[in-house]
């Protein structure tokens, strides 16, 4: 991995990779911290230059930025009043018109506003669930790769068990047992989707730990925590980042699926929840397409955008993938 970080505590231990070393000559006088920052900047710039070459990744990123902007500015553009049923401006299930570009829902609320407002929950749940999932996966993967022995055997068998469990069924079971809230949905998705990450991270950890400098760090008295947090984690971080981006898309889909199956919090507006509302209102059989299509497309587009980004990030960080492209 070319983005290996320089541990700040061991000032002279790492010779660094050649491009960073070139920059280091100019900045030698500015001390190790500035040096590290400069190297990070350089690698970020390199990353971006590489990323820009992936057209699909750029399209995905643009879509994501757009959705993020829409979600973040929603309090000013539509406001939380859009979800209010008592102040609903329209009549129930009106078709698209000038006043309501995407029509109204069963309460007479503006669907465009609801889709915008719903993006906040869908994106939030997607992000948090993915972070939780990847965090669990990373901790388990790194410890299993580091400690080996009976601990790794036990923990990897647990991982395998989760890997063969049908994820959605497990999530449904969890969401049914726990009370209906956003936290439950995040937890249900998070604790069911981590095994792939754990497997990937463990493999990378094994590869990193076989390198000579780890042995050197051990010889210099580096403990388990030091090795895992200062040497292994920075090296598996790119993998974790790529994995997070990819898991977000499946987390958003899972959130929509759970909400659609009626396992989400019914008082919160989300894309999956909108689909569930539409189904319960009988919009499918009555042909009220404007109730179903916008949230459905929004889910598909965001999931696709995250996947494209994740793919591009993965390809940049792992040049060997470039051949397959």
């Amino acid at each position: 991995m070319t983005t290996a970080n320089t541990p700040k505590t061991t000032k002279t231990s790492e010779p660094g990779t050649p491009p960073a070393a070139a920059g280091a000559r100019d900045a030698a006088a500015r001390g190790p911290r500035a040096l590290a920052w400069q190297r990070r900047r350089a690698s970020a710039a390199r990353f971006w230059a590489e990323y820009r070459r992936h057209r699909a990744g750029v399209v995905g990123l643009a879509a994501l930025v757009l959705f993020a902007l829409v979600a973040l500015t929603a309090p000013w553009t539509v406001g939380s009043d859009v979800a209010s049923v008592t102040d609903a401006p329209g009549r129930p299930l009106q078709g698209p018109s000038g006043q309501f570009p995407l029509g109204t829902d069963q309460f007479g609320r503006d669907l465009l506003g609801l889709v915008i407002w719903g993006s906040r929950v869908s994106l939030l749940v997607g992000l948090l669930a993915a972070v939780l999932s990847v965090a669990i996966g990373a901790v388990i993967g790194i410890t299993a790769g580091h400690f080996r022995g009976w601990y790794a055997t036990v923990i990897m068998r647990v991982t395998d068990w989760f890997l063969v469990m049908p994820t959605l069924v497990l999530a449904i079971a969890l969401a049914t047992v726990l009370s209906r809230s956003l936290g439950t949905v995040i937890l249900a998705i998070g604790v069911t989707t981590w095994p792939t990450t754990a497997r990937l991270v463990r493999a990378q950890t094994l590869a990193v730990e076989s390198r000579p400098y780890i042995e050197r760090a051990k010889a210099l008295g580096g403990g388990h925590w030091h090795i895992m947090s200062r040497h292994v984690l920075p090296n598996v971080m790119p993998l974790i980042l790529a994995q997070t981006t990819l898991i977000i898309s499946s987390a958003i889909l899972s959130e929509a699926t759970l909400a659609f199956l009626g396992l989400g919090d019914p008082t919160i507006v989300s894309w999956g929840g909108l689909l569930q509302d539409a189904r319960e209102a009988g919009a499918v059989s009555s042909g009220d397409w404007w109730y179903l299509v916008p949230p459905g497309i929004a889910i598909a587009v965001v999931a696709l955008a995250f996947t494209l980004c994740g793919r591009a990030v993965e390809a940049v960080l792992n040049p060997r993938l470039g051949v397959a492209r």
């Binding site: 129930p92 449904i172 990937l200 009988g282 499918v284 059989s285 009555s286």
Partner: protein, 636 residues
């Protein structure tokens, strides 16, 4: 003491099976979602509908293999038991109605008791002995005659065997002795006068079959088919959550049904049932509990479909937990203590705009709630006087809360003396969209008052309900022509014996004044005087503020006119078809001459097409990504 009427259990809390069903449906849908490449799950529905259509064996176009006329009804509620001693759900008791004749039936026009198995009945001057004359010449479907002995055995079994008393035991609680002096005479001795003796909704079962049954609490009457009965239809086959098949009883004493076969086919998804109706796969859809306004509106435009929108027999209410307790005085549950204050309950009552609920949630397919019994039962319908009415008045509600000591704090939340803000848990049925919709309104109305609302939507509300671990709950019961049952569920006598037992009580109300009135009306044989007493009970219940009847939802159902020429509604002027107090609808249904079926609506096709398209695109994207990633991982 109370005459527990199983039809009353239309939609209450007796739905433990729904949870399992829901999960099964969810898992099924989930599997389909996964199979279709993980995307917009809306596509799962048509797929499921198609699957149901393939697996169900009922004939297409209203004809079976032999050319007989088949009436197919789409249902969603699971059968709890086919045994008349155990069945309490609406679907099961309706099927029992078709399988077994009762002593009396209700007239389809105005629901007064009419002869069925009993041709005449009279009470002794002391009102304690009732003599029924049993119709002669009626036969069970295995050829044996139906006698008074069958009826006497049925009642006596319910009096002596607690397992057989599960569903209808309360009817016979006041019976002293039931005898059959002759094959056509049934004599019932009562301990106390009982006003419901012409409304005994107990299926009479054949003694020669049922006396072989060992444990009535376990026997579900689904082992040998066809099931011996004497009703208008004979049950020939049953597969749980798949179908219930009945064939016409050609020897039925009132006349043979016009259809040769009646099939209740399961559609767990209401949209799928509506699609099946459009395609002509089913002749009738009742919806659970009724079609949505959008579905009704779109079906109204179809040429061959008639939408029946009639005043329903249900009330839809918000029940308050008055502090759960058992007959032995033990208190349990954790209902909010602030709800024990009548002023708080009235304030909550006044902060609910019932008119908006009818206009917006039911979109006019309901009548604004007033008293406890729906206006359809005009004899017992009561509405509050102007001075008594708790009309929508948020300002007055706020004043009442202030007066009760729940003042707003700086955050705008109402705070009790203990310093804790008022936050109510509202129990709602996850399977009922109306609960969730009204819940959203409650959250905003009560939120403006400064009261927090947590909507607890569960598939299985029975457990918290019986444990009393809720503050308020969505509630609803189907009301019978004789209101005794729905009145009885609010008496102290209906409370459970101990916290561990299950009582007939609805929400643990126990009020002395109400109980006295209840006992009086049960012993009153004069209809006018009894109705006056019932109205007093409703008035008392209203004043207590524990039951906020928000609406009387209409029965919104639809059938194909090219398959069903005519069908009796009850009441005949403007009434419902599914879940009647009697077998009139299915017995009277006349098949249409031609039974061609038209294709599905094109607009649905477009929607499905768009959704499927989106699914395919998203699915492909994910699939490609996953594949590419998989090769990458392999190399790693």
């Amino acid at each position: 003491m109370n005459t527990h009427d199983q039809h009353g259990r239309g939609r209450g809390r007796t739905t433990p099976g729904r949870g399992r069903r829901r999960l099964a449906a969810a898992v099924g849908a989930a599997a389909l979602v996964l199979a279709s490449g993980l995307a917009t799950p809306a596509a799962a529905q048509p797929a499921r509908a198609a699957q149901t259509a393939q697996t169900a064996q009922a004939a297409q176009d209203g004809k079976d293999d032999k050319g007989g006329k088949v009436l197919t009804v789409a249902v969603a509620q699971s059968v709890d038991s086919l045994s008349p001693f155990l069945a309490v759900r609406l679907v099961s008791t309706s099927i029992n109605r078709l399988m077994y004749e009762y002593l009396t039936n209700y007239d389809p026009k105005d629901a007064h008791p009419v002869p069925a198995l009993a041709t005449r009945w009279e009470s002794s001057p002391d009102k304690l002995t009732w003599t029924y004359t049993i119709r002669s010449g009626v036969k069970w479907s295995d050829g044996k005659p139906v006698t008074a002995e069958d009826a006497a055995w049925t009642f006596t079994t319910m009096m002596t065997d607690s397992g057989a008393a599960t569903a209808n035991g309360s009817f016979v609680g006041n019976f002293a002795k039931v005898t059959a002096p002759s094959p056509t005479q049934l004599v019932i001795r009562l301990k106390k006068p009982q006003a419901t003796m012409t409304a005994l909704d107990v299926p009479i079962v054949p003694k020669h079959i049922w006396e072989k049954v060992g444990d009535f609490s376990k026997f579900n009457n689904d082992t040998t088919f066809p099931i011996v009965g004497d009703g208008p239809f004979i049950l020939t086959d049953y597969k749980p959550d798949s179908y219930v098949r009945l064939k016409a009883n050609k020897d039925f004493w009132r006349g043979a049904p016009k259809f040769d076969e009646l099939v209740f086919r399961y559609y767990k998804d209401q949209d799928a049932a509506v699609a099946a109706l459009r395609k002509g796969e089913v002749s009738f859809v009742a919806g659970s509990p009724s079609l949505t306004p959008a579905q009704a509106a779109s079906l109204k435009g179809d040429k061959n479909i008639h939408v029946n929108d009639a005043p329903g027999r249900r009330f839809y209410a918000l029940a308050t937990n008055p502090g759960a307790r058992a007959k032995n005085g033990e208190k349990f549950g954790d209902g909010d203590p602030s709800l024990l204050d009548e002023r708080v309950r009235h304030a909550l009552f006044m902060a609910v705009d019932r008119k908006t609920i009818v206009d917006k949630v039911f979109q006019g397919h309901a009548v604004e709630g007033q008293g406890y019994i729906p206006p359809r039962f005009s004899q017992y319908f009561w509405k509050p006087s102007a001075g008594q009415e708790l009309a929508y008045d948020p300002a007055e509600a706020a004043r009442l809360l202030d007066e009760a000591g729940y003042k707003k704090n700086t955050d705008g939340k109402r705070v009790g003396k203990d310093g804790k803000p008022l936050q109510y848990r509202v129990l709602c049925h996850a399977t009922d969209p109306n609960d969730k919709a009204v819940g959203k309104y409650l959250q905003e109305w009560w939120g403006k008052l400064g009261i927090g609302v947590t909507l607890d939507c569960l598939d299985n509300v029975t457990d918290p309900w019986l444990a009393g671990t809720y503050d308020l709950a969505f509630d609803g019961w189907s009301v019978n022509p004789d209101p005794d049952f729905v009145l009885s569920i609010h008496t102290c006598g209906a409370l459970p014996q101990t916290p561990k037992d299950t009582g007939a009580t609805d929400n643990f109300i126990c009020d002395k004044t109400y109980d006295e009135l209840y006992a009086k009306q049960l012993a009153e044989y004069d209809p006018a005087k009894r109705a006056a007493l019932v109205k007093q009970m409703e008035s008392r219940l209203y004043d207590l503020g524990y039951m906020n009847v928000m609406a009387y939802p209409n029965a919104v159902e639809a059938y194909r006119t090219d398959q069903i020429k005519s069908i009796t509604t009850m009441p005949s002027a403007a009434g419902n078809i599914y879940g009647q107090d009697g077998y009139w609808s299915w017995w009277s249904a006349v098949p249409a001459d031609s039974s061609g079926s038209s294709g599905g609506s094109s607009s649905t096709g477009i929607v499905v097409g768009i959704v499927v398209g989106v699914v395919v695109v998203a699915g492909l994207g994910v699939l490609v990504a996953v594949r590419r990633r998989a090769t990458a991982d392999d190399r790693e």
